[in-house]
């Protein structure tokens, strides 16, 4: 039998993505990974506007992903989509496209957990990455996730806002565009003076809102933007690295994986890499387009779930805005 090919549709937040993957000897072979990101002119993501954006682009992305993968539609064996967590209108748009595609191709459909997809794409595409602690940092999500007792469990998470959200909110208050992370990273490179900011670690949990307020106050008091950005990065990333290390120590795991949009930040990568080296652990980060929200990771998780025997009927393909990481039974791992 030929290796199965899975098409995945991601649509939890600002990105609509379509990817095609196949399973080559338990390795994820990415055939294509196309995406379009909704960028609001002003403010945060408006769910309906983002969903309209996704609806506008989904059909052409599917065509493009199939063309790039250099296959014909009939070679697709499975349709996967992001069931949650995320913004309702965005999730519904992706799910509707997946259902329509599944019905028209007459192929099975499977809905997957977006956060779990971030960890599985790392395990699938990086050969030495087998049992990592995932530091998942994106706009809405900031979680430290690891496999324990048949589930991906959340060992630590933000108690208020996600790190990406914290960066974006700060960016908005100083009028830099969304997403603000890359701009803050550039400013931070020129920062020299560390301005003390609240460092909020509670066990393995973390909080950012106090720091955000303090950073905004520094801005109002005319401190240099470069210094504020530098201090925000140093403080938040040190806290993220610390909670990740705590989870690794508690679980006795010696692999760490990054995922989510903020994982593109070079300073965060360096910190986690340094932490890993100091405890003889290995550090992994997927390629950039597999780190951000993308269709390939959804395709891959759907594929390994399907191949481990999981099935869904059309009636099961509802969305779940509050689909928690630890709600998934991980039957594909020992």
């Amino acid at each position: 039998m030929d290796e199965m090919i899975s098409l995945g549709i991601e649509g939890t937040a600002h990105t609509i993505g379509v990817g095609l993957v196949k399973n080559t000897k338990h390795h994820c072979d990415v055939l294509s990974n196309e995406m379009k990101t909704f960028r609001p002119e002003k403010g945060g993501i408006h769910p309906r506007k983002a969903a309209n954006h996704h609806a506008q682009h989904i059909a052409s992305l599917i065509e493009k992903a199939i063309t790039t993968a250099d296959i014909t539609k009939d070679k697709i064996d499975l349709v996967s989509f992001s069931k949650g967590p995320g913004l309702g209108p965005c999730l519904r748009t992706a799910a509707t496209a997946a259902r329509a595609l599944s019905l028209s191709l007459n192929k099975p459909i499977i809905g997957v957990n977006h956060c779990v997809a971030h960890i599985e794409i790392g395990r699938g595409t990086i050969p030495d990455c087998t049992d990592p602690v995932l530091l998942y940092t994106s706009g809405a999500n900031t979680q430290v996730i690891a496999f324990a007792n048949r589930k991906y469990r959340v060992f630590g998470e933000t108690l208020d806002i996600g790190i990406g959200n914290c960066l974006d909110k700060f960016g908005r208050s100083i009028d830099i565009p969304f997403p603000s992370g890359p701009h803050i990273e550039q400013y931070a490179l020129k920062g020299k003076n560390y301005l003390s900011l609240p460092y909020s670690v509670k066990g393995m949990d973390i909080a950012f809102s106090g720091l955000l307020t303090a950073a905004q106050q520094y801005y109002q008091n005319n401190n240099a933007i470069e210094d504020i950005c530098y201090s925000i990065q140093e403080t938040t990333f040190a806290a993220l690295t610390e909670v990740t290390e705590r989870a690794m120590a508690q679980l006795g795991k010696d692999e760490v994986l990054l995922g989510g949009g903020v994982a593109a930040n070079q300073r965060l990568r360096n910190m986690v890499d340094t932490m890993a080296k100091e405890r003889d652990a290995r550090f992994f980060v997927p390629t950039k387009y597999l780190c951000v929200d993308n269709g390939a990771m959804i395709a891959w998780l759907g594929l390994i779930m399907y191949q481990s025997g999981m099935r869904m009927t059309l009636a099961d393909t509802t969305i779940d805005q509050r689909f928690r990481t630890d709600m998934v039974d991980v039957i594909w791992r020992e």
Partner: protein, 207 residues
């Protein structure tokens, strides 16, 4: 003097040593190269100072904690009594339900004693509790603080609840006995504490 590395955690090394003829633990906070010096030094000195202070305060409330012999705030070193018992994490899932229930009640009572004088441990996990001579010893107050707010008490208990759910998932329901023990000694309004914990649970993503 024999110095043996007993345990290396994420944050500190525990060295087994002797001090004036007594068996002691030297807790030595590790410098972290991933963070800048300003943050590293501040975290190490403030946590060392706070920890020594909280251990002393906890003892005054009748909570079992190690004796402290010496503190070096700049270097981040605390020299304290060696607790020869077992870590609760290492046997929590292996004892009978009845024993586990009694243990949880004891844990809850100790946490109430701490909270009655606004001592927040900050990291109540089963790795940070030891069992010796039928008593539960609290170690590692490194993330602790004095805090009068209900919020801090709720978060403190929530950390333990999460540990039980993640590390001892099959016995996570025993957290209710922790609350039972807590309620028996807590001087404030227990219903407020329980509501606060529920609030905090709901704050996690997608609850």
């Amino acid at each position: 003097m024999n110095n043996n590395l007993l345990y290396q955690g994420a944050e500190a090394k525990l060295i087994l040593s002797s001090y004036l003829g007594r068996k002691v633990i030297i807790k030595f906070r590790i410098n972290k190269n991933y963070r800048i010096k300003e943050i590293d030094e501040l975290l190490i000195s403030s946590r060392t100072k706070e920890e020594a202070k909280l251990i002393y305060q906890a003892r005054k409330q009748g909570v079992y904690v190690p004796f402290i012999y010496d503190v070096d705030i700049q270097k981040g070193i605390i020299t304290m009594q060696y607790i020869s018992g077992k870590r609760i994490k290492d046997f929590f899932d292996d004892i009978s339900d009845d024993e586990r229930k009694k243990l949880c009640i004891k844990i809850g009572q100790s946490i109430a004693r701490l909270h009655n004088t606004d001592i927040i441990h900050g990291d109540i996990t089963t790795s940070n509790m030891m069992y010796m001579d039928n008593n539960v010893y609290f170690i590692d107050f490194g993330l602790g603080e004095m805090n009068t707010e209900l919020e801090a008490k709720g978060v403190d208990l929530h950390v333990l609840m999460e540990t039980m759910e993640s590390t001892h998932s099959i016995h996570a329901s025993f957290f209710r006995f922790v609350l039972e023990g807590y309620a028996s000694l807590y001087k404030g309004d227990i219903d407020q504490v329980k509501r606060k914990i529920d609030d905090i649970i709901m704050r996690g993503r997608y609850r």
